[in-house]
């Protein structure tokens, strides 16, 4: 029972992490049909910005609780600034080009942004442990857990519910769904598609930044942390179905829970879980578990 609870919590915690980092990727893909490789850069920039200011504020003697504000602010600032620069400065001029070229452009941007991090923040890792230390830890199921890690589950739920409400209960959701289903139809309905694109990209970027900013207090924020995230979030999106939020949620849960189970019961296979799930889905349902509907084009 103890083990079961621990596996469940570990799994949910890891799933939450996966969901937060992959939600932005799948939203951008769903609406804009762009596989945004520099999503990893949003994550890294979010983590660096948060860690940098949490450290600075702490040095200045300000209360550690401000850390949570910084995390949110870092995600928004990174998302808006980077998202706006990249979408308006680069991607906007490419929408008439091949989608794959856009992927390549985001890959180029990823490389550039990686090195700009090095130049801006240096190679020394940053530590922003204050928010995690503030929330201390509790014992659950015979295991001490940091409360901060558990709040991740809350953040993920918040993001998931927020996305659902946005898509299903607002006028914006109707517009988004129209554009997701068929861009041309959206244009013919009089939707300002370029504007929708800009907002979507910023929204996705904020989620990417949030992933990094929220994780920052638990890790050593060091160069290169964006590369790993792309692989993981991509795996989630492929399993769930590219462009589907529900898919990303289910994909995260499957991978997260299975991985936790493996770590506890059979650590030797832990490493294969993500890729085994991915391989099985690719063989039986190459479009993913929740592939969004596509319009007929003839």
């Amino acid at each position: 029972m103890e083990t079961f609870l621990t596996i469940l919590l570990d799994g949910l915690q890891f799933s939450s992490y996966l969901f937060i980092v992959s939600a932005g990727l799948t939203i951008i893909f769903g609406v804009m049909k762009i596989l945004n490789v520099c999503h990893g850069s949003f994550y890294a920039w979010g983590a660096y910005t948060a860690a940098f200011f949490i450290g600075k504020f702490s040095d200045m003697g300000l209360p550690d609780a401000l850390g949570f504000l910084i995390i949110i602010a870092a995600a928004i600032v990174v998302g808006v600034v980077l998202g706006l620069i990249i979408e308006q400065g680069i991607l906007k001029h490419m929408y008439h080009r091949d989608e794959v070229l856009i992927v390549l452009a985001t890959f180029g941007l990823f490389l550039v942004l990686e090195d700009i991090i090095l130049i801006a923040f240096g190679t020394d890792p940053y530590f922003a442990y204050q928010p995690m230390a503030l929330l201390e830890s509790v014992e659950m199921g015979g295991v001490i857990r940091d409360v901060y890690g558990l709040t991740l589950i809350g953040v993920a739920t918040f993001v998931a519910v927020g996305c659902w409400l946005l898509l299903n209960k607002t006028k914006w959701g109707v517009i988004l769904k129209a554009v997701i289903f068929d861009r041309e139809m959206g244009i013919s309905m009089g939707i300002n598609v370029p504007f929708v694109y800009t907002l979507t990209f910023i929204g996705g970027a904020i989620l990417g930044g949030l992933g990094g900013a929220y994780i920052a207090p638990t890790i050593s924020v060091a160069p290169g942390l964006g590369t790993e995230v792309i692989v993981l979030s991509f795996a989630v999106v492929v399993v769930g179905g590219m462009g589907s939020i529900a898919g990303a949620a289910i994909g995260s849960l499957i991978i997260g829970l299975l991985r936790a189970l493996a770590v506890h019961e059979l650590p030797q296979v832990e490493l294969f879980v993500v890729f085994a799930v991915m391989a099985i889905v690719l063989v039986f349902r190459p479009e993913g578990l929740f592939a969004p509907a596509k319009p007929r084009k003839i």
């Binding site: 103890e2 083990t3 621990t6 596996i7 919590l9 570990d10 799994g11 915690q13 890891f14 992490y17 990686e114 090195d115 090095l118 130049i119 801006a120 240096g122 190679t123 020394d124 890792p125 530590f127 442990y129 995690m132 230390a133 830890s137 015979g142 295991v143 001490i144 857990r145 940091d146 901060y148 890690g149 994780i215 638990t218 890790i219 050593s220 060091a222 160069p223 290169g224 942390l225 790993e228 991985r259 936790a260 770590v263 506890h264 650590p267 030797q268 832990e270 490493l271």
Partner: protein, 430 residues
């Protein structure tokens, strides 16, 4: 930030100057030494940069003749060395390609460096193929000199077997009644070799302690260990062994100390030394840490003139105490000087190799005997200590430091590490 841009620009200019100058310098009043280290990626901050700093500091002092005796002669066999900084990131294959460029295009005189065991493993045959005098500074896999005899390749520090045999011995001394142990190591050669050597040694010297069957092998550079820490917490084992290093090590220490893992369990971190200066109060007390030999925090109080010079100069330039990698790169550069001094600045690669083969020399913190692998692999002492936060000075110290002589923790010439441990470590002189 402006500073780093300026520094970058100056570095760029310097490197281009070196590059264009390299071809012309035939008279051998100057030599070029390529120093590869992690300049990008997660390993740069805790490992790559201190390593590079150590190398540059020592090379600079040698050029000026500023090292303490007996190394106070100017230059490398009289020649001034310029350092080419190289990034070690990108994987073994990329490093092989870069190494070929270094030797065949940029015509460097010596290559001194490398941190990753994977890179060293990939480069060893290429070093021999290109017949280039090369010193590996930090990488740990014992296989390099056990697989094949090397002629141009040297390593001036002990290998992973020493780290883990010494760790097991230290554990036996401190916790003779230990009943069980487990581990968390990265899933590649370094982590696998480390765990294997520790596990096998424990079976030999502490047969009463059993290994858990749920030891963890997460992927390198993942940085998230939530589930693993839970699993380790639930594991009944009393001790956790880890060879984590760099960013992974620091992330793991954060996450595990927030969850009180080391309140109930003994932690053994074979590369923990690099974190001691950097993490300050965030490092839990009572961790058993090593520094892959007598380096960094373990030798902070060694009072030899060479060690005092090293610590003081490093602290003056970089503002912090030198950690293990700084020592390891520094002593590898020192070894190059010794070889050049002996063979002359215009020596061939062969002559340089002859000069270094099998010698014994005093490095900054310890005595290095090039006595394994046909005189190419160093044997040094290896030690461990227990962390303690010193509130008075606001820094971490280690207590109960104990060193084991090299002949005690490394196999004798001609015996492979695993066989040696499994055979009951015959010939160990402790």
């Amino acid at each position: 930030m402006t500073k780093s841009i300026i520094a970058g620009a100056v570095g760029l200019a310097a490197i281009s100057a070196i590059t264009f100058g390299a071809g012309v310098a035939q008279a051998k009043d100057s030599i070029t030494i390529a120093v590869p280290s992690f300049l990008t990626g997660g390993a740069a901050g805790p490992f790559g940069i201190p390593a590079m700093n150590g190398a540059k500091m020592v090379a600079d002092a040698i050029n000026k003749g500023a090292l303490p005796a007996p190394y106070n002669t100017k230059g490398f066999g009289g020649a001034v060395a310029s350092i080419i900084e190289l990034d070690e990131g990108g994987g073994g294959t990329k490093q092989v390609a870069e190494y070929r460029n270094l030797v065949e295009k940029r015509n460097v005189d010596a290559v001194v460096g490398y941190i990753s065991s994977g890179n060293c493993q990939a480069l060893a045959p290429v070093v021999e193929e290109l017949k280039q005098f090369t010193i590996f500074a930090t990488c740990g896999t014992p296989r390099i000199f056990e697989e094949a005899p090397r002629k141009y390749l040297f390593r001036t520090m002990g290998h992973a077997t020493a780290d883990n045999v010494a760790a097991a011995m230290y554990v036996k001394e401190k916790f003779p009644n230990l009943s069980s142990y487990t581990g968390i190591n990265q899933n590649y050669a370094w982590g696998q070799d480390s765990w294997r050597d520790f596990d096998l040694t424990m079976k030999q010297i502490m047969p009463g302690a059993t290994a858990s069957d749920k030891f963890q092998f997460p992927k390198v550079f993942v940085g998230q260990y939530g589930s693993e820490i839970s699993a380790l917490s639930l594991d009944k084992a009393e001790l956790v062994h880890s060879s984590f290093w760099g960013g992974d090590l620091e992330s793991f220490i954060f996450q595990s100390s927030a969850r009180g893992l080391f309140k109930n369990k003994i932690g053994v971190m074979t590369v923990g030394g690099t974190a001691a200066y950097r993490l300050g109060k965030k490092l839990p007390n009572g961790l058993i840490i090593g520094a892959r030999g007598p380096y960094g925090i373990l030798v902070k109080d060694r009072d030899t003139p060479l060690n005092k010079w090293f610590i003081e100069t490093y602290k003056n330039i970089y503002g912090i105490y030198p950690s293990g990698p700084a020592y390891q790169y520094g002593q590898a550069i020192l070894a190059a000087k010794i070889a050049y001094d002996k063979a002359g600045s215009d020596a061939t690669d062969e002559q340089l190799a002859d000069a270094l083969r099998g010698i014994t020399f005093e490095s900054f913190s310890t005595t290095i005997e090039m006595s394994l692998g046909g005189g190419h692999q160093a044997v040094t002492e290896n030690g461990y200590g227990v962390t303690k936060y010193d509130d008075e000075n606001g820094e971490n110290v280690v207590t109960d430091v104990k060193f084991y002589p090299g002949s005690c923790v490394m196999p004798p010439e001609g015996v492979e590490s695993v066989q040696w441990i499994n055979g009951g470590m015959k010939g160990a002189k402790c």
